[in-house]
């Protein structure tokens, strides 16, 4: 648990947003020291997803055409949605939907490791929230692949680990108004 206690996310970094008509896309890039095969496993294997992702999967995401149920973790009510794996080319490209969010992951070789890029469509008002949440998830993913798992940090846990600061930093980077979350009343507890 000491690894978890010592965890603090770094500054907001590696995120871009793109607007295409009314559709907003969040693009997150993370350079990892590990092989694409290892990263691929962490993105597709339900047991590894449980260690870092904001959802649980009831099956492996690594085969094109597979249908997998994804369940949000630590939301007041679990949101269950059926994901269809639109494309899985190990260890290069993975594409599926999480509810109405399209998730496209690309794994490129990078200096002996992997450059991981996520494209996901997300409403404008949630784009800084998404960037902050995935930032923390990617930190946890990195530690998991390094063989030093600290356990996933999602939902309310993220609030204890600097999510609000990241949220404000990403909002600023994206040129958006300072986000009003959590609301004053909710900060007491």
């Amino acid at each position: 648990m000491t690894d978890l206690e010592q965890y603090a996310p770094g500054p907001a970094n590696g995120a871009q947003i793109r607007k295409d008509g009314e559709k907003w896309t969040l693009i997150l890039v993370r350079e990892l020291r590990h092989s694409r095969e290892k990263v691929w496993q962490a993105l597709t294997d339900p047991a590894q997803l449980r260690e870092w992702a904001p959802f649980d999967a009831d099956g492996n995401l690594g085969t094109t055409g597979t249908k997998v149920k994804l369940t949000t973790v630590r939301t007041p009510v679990p949101n269950v949605s059926e994901a269809k794996v639109a494309l899985a080319v190990a260890p290069e490209v993975l594409e599926y939907n999480w509810g109405d969010h399209n998730m496209r992951w690309e794994l490129e070789p990078f200096g002996g490791g992997t450059r991981l890029t996520l494209w996901t469509n997300i409403g404008r008002r949630f784009i800084a929230m998404g960037a902050a949440g995935w930032h923390i998830c990617f930190d946890v993913l990195e530690r998991l692949i390094a063989g030093e798992p600290i356990g996933r940090i999602v939902g309310p846990e993220a609030m204890k680990f600097g999510w609000q600061r990241l949220h404000a930093e990403y909002a600023k980077q994206f040129g958006m108004e300072t986000p009003d979350w959590p609301p004053q009343a909710a900060q007491k507890s």
């Binding site: 904001p54 949000t72 969010h101």
Partner: protein
């Protein structure tokens, strides 16, 4: 303990937010998402720290069946209280809402019923003691 939030199921949260703010006149209070999960509430501008109404996505088949059944029976999914039901009726109607019942005197109150465009009937109530 306090009654702080109550909810209605809606078939589309964006559409519901537009209706409950632009047509009914409530204000967005909290809006938070984690992937496809979205916690969305509105509150009355007359009572910004009062009870919130959660606009919950109805992606649950059991809740959907319940929502449709009570809608077909003409039962409201939520009730809002006003001290000017005739004025609210005119204002909300002018913004395009469809009333299934205009302001009607019943025992102890005047009520009206409208469709929220998201699968629900909403009742407006003005208690008789507030009448002039």
């Amino acid at each position: 303990m306090k009654i702080k939030v109550t909810s209605v199921y809606v078939d589309d949260q964006d559409k519901a937010l537009r209706f409950y703010t632009e047509v009914l006149g409530f204000a967005k209070k909290t809006d938070f998402s984690q992937g496809p999960y979205r916690w969305l509430t509105v509150a009355s501008p007359e009572e910004p720290d009062g009870t919130e109404l959660q606009l919950a996505l109805n992606n649950n088949p059991a809740a959907k069946a319940y929502q449709q059944a009570i809608f077909q029976q003409g039962q409201p999914a939520a009730m809002f209280f006003t001290d000017n039901i005739k004025g609210d009726h005119e204002r909300i109607k002018a913004r395009g809402a469809e009333f299934t019942m205009p302001p009607t005197d019943v025992t102890g109150s005047t009520i009206a019923m409208l469709k929220d465009t998201c699968g629900n009937l909403i009742q407006l109530t003005q208690l008789a003691r507030y009448s002039h």
